[in-house]
Amino acid sequence: MVIDLDKCTGCGACMVSCMSENNVPFKEDESDKKLSITWMRVYKLTNGKSFPEAEIVYLPRPCQHCGGIGDHGHSPCVSVCPATATDYGYDTGIVSQIYTRCFGCRYCMGACPYHARHFNWWDPKWPEGMENYLSPNVSPRMRGVVEKCSFCYHRYQLAREQAIVEDREIEEKEYQTACTTACPAGAIVFGDLNNPAHKVHQIVKPDPHPDPMNHKVVGKSRNPKVFRLLERLGTNPKVYYMSDREWVRKAGDNYLKGEWENVKTHHGASSSHG
């Protein structure tokens, strides 16, 4: 997935589309965002300057579907789950969450550097009659389990079944997440990062080799405008962000004084493999 932060308007359609696709419940008061379950959450970042020089950017954050150090599938959350409730799909690169296995220890929430995981402190409650719009494709969660974005895995399953029946590959447009299809700005592009025919691959141009400066990092973008969040941790997320603005790209990590200059010049310039 690539998200063009310069196109995102912060309208929130992705968040709502996600919630209604995935049976995410709602409470009477959702203004305490630590307790608000949002698989997709749009953050607002500012450049810290005053009007009229002030700038903002909206940063939609789904689960980053980390491949872990060296992209071997040891995602931060997967490595700590004692119940194998969350696992890395080597075929899809999607990090799963199996609610009936989860017993709510929340280690994964502590391990996730992106706050992408949410805990059900209460049973979900829909106002009378509203459970009528729930989708059978995604099971509603119960109190005591952790949930997160699945890259709309059920949509992948449906597309895969269809493709198997017709004995062909899944087409790019057949499997798109709910946030992608909802985005009115067309800011989200979704597809197979490893498939050169897919738009995501063409935008990101992922480097298949480990970053020579940091061997934990694999799949770094060769597009100088594209970056990942906290990239140097080596979590190797499958969500890439794109912006023309340097301050936005810099906001993808916490840099010490002087560090950014190195990253900036190195960023996207691992052209040794280019």
Binding site: M15, S20, S31, G48, S50, P52, E55, S135, R141, M142
Partner: protein, 701 residues
């Protein structure tokens, strides 16, 4: 047998070994982990066949095409409809939440009658005959003109059907809630002639000069505008935003021109003056009174003093605008509905006219309203003819409120698609005005602030339960008629408001019944859309027009040449309080869904407090997160301070769309309705409420 120490230990060890080896313990642990997660009350949605159905969303004037995913006929998801000429697959958070409106238990489930302070349930037959009887009495008393209608819709067959009822009844007193559409129509009427719409061709413009219009935050047809903005970079089109705060649109713009709130019109006129002085305009207006007025009142220095924009910057902007290939100037602060002035709209449109941007690709289209409906002649008896030819009580809904509050004048009032007791400035006064009307009938789906004050509620089916033609509006440079289709049978005992109106007319008998001789609204729609019905029902939409209209319309600058005065914010105070439109918050008659409320930032709503934007430089002793008392001439409210570097110092921005006061814990009782704090400032000439803000003070609570 005697139990000695030896056998006791033996038994104990044996029991321990038995328990350890038996599967019971493992089984119980396993079961308990299953039980703790198999809550019987966690719903298991029914599975079934997946189908998709097409319709049109009519929650806002955006009129987007939607695709409704159903499982065994049960709607489970709404998405944007691919290839629809307005939104092409995109959707907004409110449309996607549509199903929350459909199944909301807070909906009005049956017709209701006010009895004292409480509503009691009645049947449709009772409700219709009750209203028919009351209206009959009014007709008998010989004052049919004392029936009023406040409506939000001003296009499509439903609007015409209500108009027809008013006509057949004998009343001219129909009032529209202020909307971007009505404001644009007023502008067109002032400058180009009556009965026209304005459409802004943002898709093809290469230089958009927006006078505070929240182009990507709900202005016009929201999804279409967001898409036009998204394609802007590929087209290398520029956006310049005139604003006093860093709205999302300002943030997306290539350049921000910071102006003092409420001086957008002056800047537009200043640019006009620059173009005239440099003789860079199309057509011959130099000799007109308008040019003389501009040369006198809007010299760059004067404009600088009023707006705070440096004279050199304004001249540069004027040059950039006129030199662009396809520039367009866009009026309407925020969403362009409430708190707008005709002076400002006209000033911006005058700029378009001077730059020869009327009816040009990438400019402004001066369009005729979609003419696809043909109703048969209305049957009017003498009473109707007499009543309908009388003068209207007031020129606008704001003036109506004034009039009603002072000395009444209506004996009955219909409210359709409108929530004036929330959406107009100073709702307390609106409520007092409403109470002066003897008999109020609401056609609402939800028990909102206005429905709560009605005497009879004829609950309306929502857009997912009804058939209706939906005309694109909202400043779009094309006219598309879409067909909203019922996705399900009405969930509750509600009716299509068109059906309710037909039943009512027939119950009234005589000429009114003859005017409404259809069996149902569906039959009526098929008949009146005759010409296009087949395409409409087949394709789901008809594109009436999407090309620039032919010819250049004449522009009459008389209104502007009279140098209308700017609205001055009421009251005293160090700050100017302005409402702020947010994409995630619904406004007007529409109420935010639980999902929409959920995604509101905690920098907008925090617990029960509205968070106000304030620049730290002018916050005084107040700190971020403090609770403060915000006071205006209209009232005071407790708010939370939210430091925001993106707002002009001295200005307080308060989100619009919060503070609903009715019984629904998910969406109401949150924050403050900013309209409560702002008093209307009615603009002479247009009757619009031009209060863009109000003077305010802030103190620590």
């Amino acid at each position: 047998m005697k139990i000695d120490r030896r056998s006791f230990l033996g038994l104990g060890l044996g029991a321990a070994a038995g328990v350890a080896l038996s599967p019971v313990g493992v089984k119980l642990t396993d079961d308990s982990s299953i039980w703790t997660q198999n809550w019987p009350w966690t719903p298991v949605p029914e599975d079934g066949k997946i189908t998709y159905d097409r319709s049109v969303c009519s929650l806002c004037p955006g009129a987007c095409g939607i695709s409704v995913k159903k499982i065994n006929g049960r709607p489970v998801k709404i998405e944007g409809l691919d290839d629809y000429p307005i939104n092409n697959g995109g959707a907004c958070p409110h449309g996607i939440s549509g199903l929350q409106y459909l199944y909301d238990p807070a909906r009005i489930k049956t017709p209701l009658k006010k009895n004292g302070n409480k509503f009691e349930k009645i049947s449709w037959d009772e409700a219709i005959s009750l209203v028919a009887q009351k209206l009959g009495e009014i007709r008998k008393s010989g004052t049919p003109e004392s029936l009023g209608l406040i409506t939000g819709a001003d296009s499509g067959s439903m609007a015409q059907l209500f108009e027809r009822f008013m006509d057949a009844f004998g009343s001219p007193n129909t009032y529209n809630m202020p909307s971007l559409e009505s404001n644009l129509a007023l502008t067109a009427a002032a400058l180009h002639g009556a009965d026209r719409n304005l459409g802004f061709d943002l898709d093809h413009s290469d230089f958009i000069l927006s006078f505070g219009a929240a182009i990507i935050e709900g202005w016009g047809s929201p999804v279409a505008c967001i898409q036009a903005n998204a394609s802007r970079r590929e087209r290398k089109a520029k956006l310049v935003q005139v604003d006093y705060r860093l709205s999302n649109t300002a943030n997306a713009a290539d350049k921000i021109i910071a102006v003092k709130p409420g001086t957008e019109a002056d800047l537009a006129l200043g640019i006009c003056a620059v173009l005239l002085a440099k003789n860079l305009i199309a057509g011959d207006v130099n000799t007109s009174a308008f040019a003389a007025m501009l040369a006198k009142e809007y010299t760059p220095e004067k404009v600088e003093a009023i707006t705070g924009v440096k004279a050199a910057d304004m001249e540069a902007l004027a040059m950039e605008f006129i030199k662009a290939k396809a520039p367009v100037a866009v009026p309407g602060k925020g969403r362009g509905d409430v708190g707008q002035s005709l002076r400002e709209f006209a000033a911006v449109q005058a700029l378009n006219a001077l730059a020869d941007r009327l009816n040009k690709k990438g400019g402004v289209f001066v369009m005729y309203p979609a003419d696809y409906l043909s109703f048969s002649e209305n049957v009017m008896d003498d009473a109707a003819k007499q009543g309908a030819s009388k003068a209207k009580l007031a020129g606008s809904v704001n003036e109506l409120v004034d009039k009603l509050e002072k000395d009444g004048g209506l004996s009955a009032l219909f409210i359709y698609n409108a929530n004036p007791c929330y959406a107009l400035n100073n709702p307390e006064k609106v409520k007092v005005a409403m109470d002066k009307v003897g008999f109020k009938v609401s056609f609402s789906s939800f028990m909102d602030e206005t429905a709560l004050r009605s005497d009879v509620v004829l609950p309306a089916s929502i857009f997912l339960e009804r058939l209706e033609d939906v005309v694109s509006g909202g400043g779009l440079a094309k006219t598309v008629v879409g067909l909203c289709r019922p996705m399900v049978k009405p969930i509750f005992d509600t009716k299509h408001p068109g059906d309710a109106l037909i039943l009512l007319a027939q119950a009234m008998g005589d000429s009114i019944a003859q005017s409404f001789s259809w069996n149902s609204y569906d039959a009526c729609l098929e008949q009146v859309t005759g010409k296009i019905w087949d395409t409409l029902s087949g394709d789901g939409y008809v594109v009436i027009d999407d090309k620039p209209p032919v010819g250049t319309p004449a522009t009459d600058f008389t209104f502007l040449a009279s140098a209308p005065k700017a609205a001055v914010p009421m009251g005293e105070g160090d700050y100017t309080l302005v409402p702020v439109d947010k994409m995630r918050l619904a406004v007007g008659s529409m109420i935010s869904s639980p999902f929409a409320v959920k995604i509101i930032s905690d920098k907008v709503l925090s617990g029960k407090y509205s968070v106000v934007e304030i620049n730290p430089a002018t916050a005084g002793i107040l700190k971020d997160g403090d609770i403060a008392v915000l006071k205006t001439a209209m009232g005071k409210a407790l708010v939370k301070i939210g430091f925001n570097e993106g707002i002009m110092p001295g200005v307080i921005g308060m989100p619009r769309g919060l503070g609903h006061a009715f019984n629904n814990p998910y969406v109401a009782g949150k924050g403050v309705n900013v309209n409560d704090l702002i008093g209307p400032v009615i603009e002479p000439g247009s009757g619009l409420d031009a209060a863009f803000g109000i003077k305010a003070t802030l103190s620590k609570a």
